[in-house]
Symmetry: C2
Subunit: 222 residues, 2 copies
């Protein structure tokens, strides 16, 4: 799939969500959908949806809305949903363990296929049916399992060293659960998921709304 | 803290990150910091940093940079870091269990203080030193523990019902780990954390870069 324009990260993050909701509409037998309907189902502003779609050229007609099956086919292709992406999990602590159990069961196209942990024996072991090897065997196993993405759930202390090591493998993306900001070449995509920060941001939002509510009466519905 | 202008959610999410990095600069004994230095440490575009800061009025002087201690004090106040925020975790499955163990240990100002699970006995039990009660006691315990935020790690089937119930409590924000998009009044803030979607977006980014690299040579460093 060729990129026509640089697509903002916020848009990129919504693409899988569009795909999921379009599948819901299709499952209900709906043939067309308006940006308004998508907006209501997804709780996203309809102007945002139209702008997101505009990055991909003419996906719909004015006054007609979007053809559900056409959009599903488009997003399936764009998101490589016809192919399976193999993921490695690095660091099988509390969070790593939970992610292995969870293993993105909602999404059959992305799966953790191998894991690494410094406590694993050299010949490997199994956690939640996933083989776990020590870091010594990282490069070898990434090749063997055809891994494309890594989930980083190691300690902050070893995060950067591991990220640097990953840049020398075929891996092209890191889902980073450590609090570190990783220094990697631009060719490596990093998605930071920092639950502490998210919770602090939520605290801020909740408290500033509280303040605004104290200052003036407010509508509670859109 | 009074809001002067509506602050975009992306900016809000970066506020705790600024606070964390400013503390790092202070720990290194630095008195002033430029947006460029922040940019390099945080791997965020310096124009984005200046724009984020501009929402809060004049935080720095041109050619001088930002005063580290002043900014720390500002963000501490803005992010209510002088106060503790009590959080409830709802749904102690795999992910819920991991979050209880993790309990945001990096951030002493936000802590899970109580949890709920349909399997818990009516008198409560303990998981990772946190009391866990059945949902029947939700409203009572939220009041008793002074809970302000909820982390939702229930099954998709019960997500909306639980969210609706939370809107009738003093809780003002939900960190939503379920794949559902929750229907709640505007006064309730929802932060969706959908790990499957994040991973799919990362797959898309990694593969589209792959494509671009196949098409033309590219710089790998900024």
């Amino acid at each position: 799939m060729k990129q026509e324009a640089k697509i903002p990260q916020a848009t990129t993050k919504r693409l899988p969500l569009y795909y999921r909701f379009l599948q819901n509409f299709a499952a209900e037998g709906q043939e067309r959908v308006s940006s308004q309907q998508l907006s209501e189902a997804m709780k996203i502003d309809s102007a945002t949806i139209r702008r997101d779609f505009s990055y991909f050229g003419a996906l719909g007609k004015k006054g007609y809305g979007y053809d559900v099956q056409y959009l599903i086919a488009f997003f399936r292709e764009t998101l490589s949903q016809n192919e399976v992406t193999n993921v490695a999990l690095i660091g099988v602590g509390n969070l790593g363990n939970a992610l292995l159990k969870y293993n993105f069961s909602k999404n059959q196209n992305t799966r953790i296929i191998v894991a690494f942990d410094s406590k694993a024996p050299i010949d490997g072991t199994f956690v939640s049916d996933i083989p776990v090897f020590p870091p010594e065997r990282l490069e070898e196993k990434i090749k063997e399992f055809g891994v494309e993405l890594a989930i980083l759930t190691v300690t902050p202390r070893s995060a950067q060293a591991m990220a640097t090591r990953l840049t020398k493998t075929p891996i092209k993306g890191i889902m980073n659960f450590t609090p570190n900001r990783l220094d990697v070449p631009k060719s490596m995509h990093v998605m930071n998921i920092d639950l502490s920060l998210e919770l602090q941001a939520l605290t801020y939002l909740a408290r500033s709304t509280q303040q605004a509510n104290d200052d003036s009466l407010k509508q509670t519905e859109q």
